[in-house]
Amino acid sequence: MLTHVISEKLKDLAPDLTQVPPRSPRETLAGYIIAPRILDKCRAELTGTLGEYWFNKFMDRLFFDFTGIDAQAFQAFVATGATDEEVAEWIGQQAQPRETVEIVKWNNQLRYATLQDLPEDIQLFLDGFVVKLPTHRPVYHVFDIFDLDEGRL
């Protein structure tokens, strides 16, 4: 259950995901791919404009697991109405310390992940989803699914 107090600042920052998609998972925040998308979904969940999206499931977990950041702590900070820059700084402070090259390699592992690299249950889940995507181009990488579905490709 949502227990955070929603600031006016957060309301201004939160995208209405019933009307617009979140950012591409390819975008970065604090050096991490996926993070801006998670931030968009987190803000939208806090303001009740999440629509059909989920926060803290599947791909979001990859970010939280890799950084060692607790999703609830992330959400509590986002609820203060922190800007992208402030969230980036917070991530930098809270994330497990790593060499930059480790983060870059993690980014690249995910950027170039194909469906065949995913666990079987996710391949099964996505198999039904992929056939509903626009057909003007193939799905090369997992991230293409989001970018195709949301009209960026």
């Binding site: 390699k105 592992q109 991230f143």
Partner: protein
């Protein structure tokens, strides 16, 4: 530093890389990907019009190493003003003797290399370089896309 003498013929063949781009690394010369681009940069460097491009950079070295050709020997031959066809024939004569399938497989390996397969130092460099030169929203699928998108061929 190059000690090759620059012929007029070379000057007429050299692309002005302050105004133009070298060929895509996907183009082949002598059967090798990368080599056409390497040749363009070599000629332009000899003619002093290479701009921000470097001959014998990390990419060129991938070609030289696989072909078993010395960058200096290559440059000396290019400096004679050899045409693309002549350079292609020279590469075939001086390159390591291989079965054609080996060369084709090497080409395909590089055509389909993704950034996550590159050495750490190059991944680190590209993480900052790509957002500077690749328009937002364009997706890099393969390493060579960086060159082709930046140089507006894709």
């Amino acid at each position: 530093m190059s000690t090759a003498t620059v012929s007029d013929k070379l000057k007429s063949l050299a692309k002005d890389l302050t105004k133009d781009f070298p060929r895509s690394p996907r183009e082949t010369l002598g059967g090798y990907v990368i080599a056409g681009r390497t040749l363009d940069k070599c000629r332009s460097t000899l003619a002093g019009i290479n701009g921000e491009y470097h001959f014998n950079c990390a990419l060129d070295k991938i070609f030289f190493e696989f072909a078993g050709i010395s960058a200096e020997d290559f440059q000396n031959f290019v400096a004679t003003g050899a045409t693309d066809e002549e350079v292609g024939a020279w590469i075939t004569q001086h390159g390591k003797t291989r079965e054609r399938i080996e060369l084709v497989k090497w080409n395909n390996q590089w055509r389909y290399t993704t950034i996550r397969e590159l050495p750490d130092g190059i991944q680190l460099y590209l993480e900052d370089y790509i957002p500077q030169v690749i328009p937002k929203g364009r997706v890099i699928y393969h390493f060579f896309d960086v060159y082709d998108i930046e140089e507006k061929r894709l």
